[in-house]
Symmetry: C2
């Protein structure tokens, strides 16, 4: 049905669109470990282009999409999700037959839906590496970002096994652990373990900010507990905005479940129920300790 993908990773010319934290780190990892033939970057700002070359993160960099996509065996869209959705139709038009079109967006259902409309001669596959930092941009990029991290791949029904295989090979080449799953399942799970923590961090900072307007000493007393719990509130706004807006129902569901848990804890506190509260807190502690031991 589609043109088979014949390129091996070793022969592949890879174009990464967007050299921020994720794209810049991916480019850097490919250059450092050189599993492929050529790494090209597409950026909007000349300054970013200059920096990417100076840091040796790419073989070539351009501010123009067309030539960099046209010559690629694999195009990886590493921008915020809503920009990925805008870029996909253009990339579909520009890409040569057999080209694998992948992305690194934080939500997958909307991206996979948009990938359905790509021309039959390209091979789409969604991707989302489970790593990140609250810092963003090329300055924050580091070639080891993917090392040991789960990297979700969401193939479409039309995605050929060779294209998926190439994506898996790419993930492993940068140190990641490929995990194939359906887009909707991915989006639900990340709403709970990524988007919810982000919103809680924002709610926490908003609360402290409001309280600080009457008593600024709140910032003086804030220690490592506040720092860690609020860390995600410093995430890149465009990335998180796109993430939330392309995963609205699931984000709201996750927040609603969390609200039930918080109200249950609030009731135990309100009633001074030492035994019930102790049991609930102990269960949370044991669950958290099992995770990160």
């Amino acid at each position: 049905m589609t043109t088979p993908q014949a390129t091996t990773l070793r022969e592949a010319r890879i174009t990464i669109v967007g050299l921020g934290l994720m794209g810049g780190s991916l480019a850097g990892a490919l250059k450092a470990r050189h599993p492929c033939q050529h790494v090209s970057g597409v950026v909007r700002q000349r300054e970013t282009a200059r920096l990417a070359l100076a840091r040796g993160l790419v073989d070539q960099v351009s501010t123009e999409l067309a030539p960099a996509v046209a010559e690629a065996d694999m195009v990886i869209l590493a921008t915020p999700v809503r920009t990925i959705l805008e870029l996909l139709p253009q990339v579909g038009q520009l890409a040569r037959p057999g080209c694998v079109v992948m992305d690194l967006g934080s939500t997958k259902a909307a991206v996979v839906q948009a990938m359905l409309a790509l021309p039959a001669h390209v091979q789409p596959v969604g991707g989302h590496p489970m790593c990140g930092k609250e810092t963003s941009g090329l300055d924050a990029a580091e070639p080891d970002l993917y090392q040991g991290r789960v990297f979700v791949l969401t193939p479409l029904q039309r995605t050929g096994s060779e294209a998926l295989g190439l994506a898996e090979e790419l993930v492993e080449a940068v140190g990641g652990r490929p995990l194939v799953m359906e887009a909707a399942r991915h989006d639900w799970l990340v709403s709970v373990i990524s988007h919810l923590p982000y919103l809680l961090a924002c709610g926490l900072v908003g609360t402290a900010e409001q309280v600080s307007q009457r008593d600024d000493a709140v910032w003086t007393l804030a220690a490592s507990g506040f720092r860690d719990t609020s860390r995600l509130a410093a995430s890149d706004v465009t990335m998180m905005l796109d993430t939330l807006l392309t995963n609205r129902d699931m984000v709201l569901d996750a927040l609603a479940i969390c609200d039930v848990h918080l109200q249950r804890l609030a009731n135990l506190v309100r009633n001074g129920d030492a035994e019930g509260l102790s049991m609930a807190l102990t269960a949370m502690r044991e669950r958290r300790e099992r995770m990160f031991r």
Copy 2:
């Protein structure tokens, strides 16, 4: 009205009741920097006593409260808050005239209230160092725990200036930054920057746990964002239980304010209000970045 406190820190014999993370670290800091004459510890378990001596955190350690308090110029209660409240009457009976009775409890209003009932011949002052880790117990103790950290002191009206001075000198001797404030003000501020983050972390872990019962992959996808936001859920349960139960109204108020912020964010997501959401998230990001730069 009270017997004047004549002892200088250099001459002081200090008894720390409870050698967990906070008490053990304080003892270790005093032994390492030796600003005082003698450091004595009181613990419940013989094994803890043995370990404290083996690590050189104390000059002397006992499982009996009476002799260790009776010979002290300064007694520091370093247990969870409800144990502090239980111990205070006994310590008042045992302490010699002029003895400074301090604590390291996470909430201050209940402690200061209980300190009002101490005999007139002792000098009470509340204390709360703004540091900690999610690990607990003597094993986690480290002499540098207080270095550079704000250390709140909540004197009572009856607290003499010499006793408060001795407490400040002690804080500075272990590297802390003394900050005198009223107990109620402290309790409100920590409900926002310490107890609220703890509850949010617990709500997050509870949500993930519930979701994991249908799809265990939620733990596989959890990355550094989840890890940091949920870290406080691993805090010592007895300490946090006592903290929440002795600061109920303020904890519930902080949670209610946070809920308003979370619902506001949820509404922006629900309505797909990209502009409003972007403004809200940008404000949170800027506020967070100003804090920890």
